[in-house]
Symmetry: C2
Subunit: 219 residues, 2 copies
């Protein structure tokens, strides 16, 4: 179900050297996305920053949109692997829900901070271009299910009448908040009233309150 298409957007390279060029192009693009939107970054600009050329770019990607797809694919692969590792039930033996939620939220905040530009670009692309949605949804769903499995093993701690739904919706709300936090610049802090430093704790608090989990002694 989760799209396995291994970078079929990219013409696979034949020499190691061109694989490096491809990585450099992806890295350059992601770096530039920290400062501007995808449409504001030119192909020539990306190529130059990668120490490459426009021609090389088009030797790897059929068009500019394919670059964003490749970035999405790369991020989703990393995200899936990370979730599988981080949300492995074995890792959380004996842990209670507050501990898990706090850790996950803090981690998600970190990702959104560190890769702000990429996530913003992907989020915007998804809003208007259907071809970006499936992959994005698949990743969210994967993480949501893994987290759900973990929390529902502990459903006794959850007071919400429909724990499975609550876990899914709670996770979605955390994601939604982070997405907005990523898109919103500092101005919106006046509305939010919670600094980025305090965000993980407050977000976890909100999520736990919604689930109906009593704050544990662990936190």
């Amino acid at each position: 179900m989760p799209a396995q298409t291994p970078l079929r957007w990219i013409r696979p390279p034949r020499q190691a050297r061109s694989q490096e060029t491809l990585d450099r192009l992806l890295d350059a693009a992601e770096a530039l996305l920290e400062e501007k939107g995808f449409d504001d970054v030119g192909v020539a600009e990306i190529a130059q920053r990668a120490g490459s050329s426009v021609g090389s770019f088009y030797a790897r990607f059929p068009d500019k949109a394919a670059l964003l797809h490749a970035l999405q694919e790369r991020f989703a692969d990393e995200g899936t692997a990370t979730a599988d590792d981080a949300l492995d039930p074995a890792r959380w033996q004996g842990a209670q829900i507050p501990e898990i939620v706090s850790a996950v939220v803090a981690f998600l905040v970190g990702i959104h901070r560190d890769r702000r530009g990429l996530l913003r670009a992907l989020w915007l692309a998804q809003a208007l271009r259907p071809e970006f949605r499936a992959r994005a949804t698949a990743l969210s769903l994967h993480v949501s299910r893994r987290l759900g499995a973990l929390l529902l093993e502990r459903r006794a701690e959850i007071a919400h009448p429909d724990p499975a739904r609550a876990v899914a919706f709670g996770f979605w709300q955390v994601l939604a908040s982070l997405r907005c936090a990523v898109l919103e610049p500092e101005e919106a802090l006046a509305v939010r009233r919670v600094s980025e430093r305090a965000l993980p704790a407050e977000l976890a608090r909100a999520c736990l309150a919604y689930l109906g989990v009593r704050p544990s002694n662990a936190d």
Copy 2:
């Protein structure tokens, strides 16, 4: 403090007829935004839909971006007036927090449904163009303060240790969720697990739980 600039982006019309043209242009643009993004809507397309012409467009707006500014201005004016009316303390004499929050959340869900296209366009514009942020922030802040005043009159009902901050953050989280719900198409429902019909209730529940308000008999 809230930007009062009365449509200074628009060259004010001298004849009634041209005011009508302007309104038709705004309406046509907003209608087209339901289907596509701002960049995907052409000036000629807007003019045609408004039963007008490209030249007329440029007689009213210095450039295409000014149109989006005008739409933002119009929406913000309506929103401000609506908030002043809807959140007037006199209106809520004797009401408890759950009743207020439920009503506000339901109303916000409705707005985001009815003007999905415009809100999506404004949200995307804000993410990348600083000149859209101030107005957007001012509107959110205005509503947040009005709502805050209303709820903080009832702070006894709030268990959160910092009620003022909690009200602001809770409101912001509701907004964030709605923004994402507006940008996300149906696919994401698999992640969210809450349909648009059930959204108001679940969002209100989450907000109230975060504030630490006991569900009242009123709801």
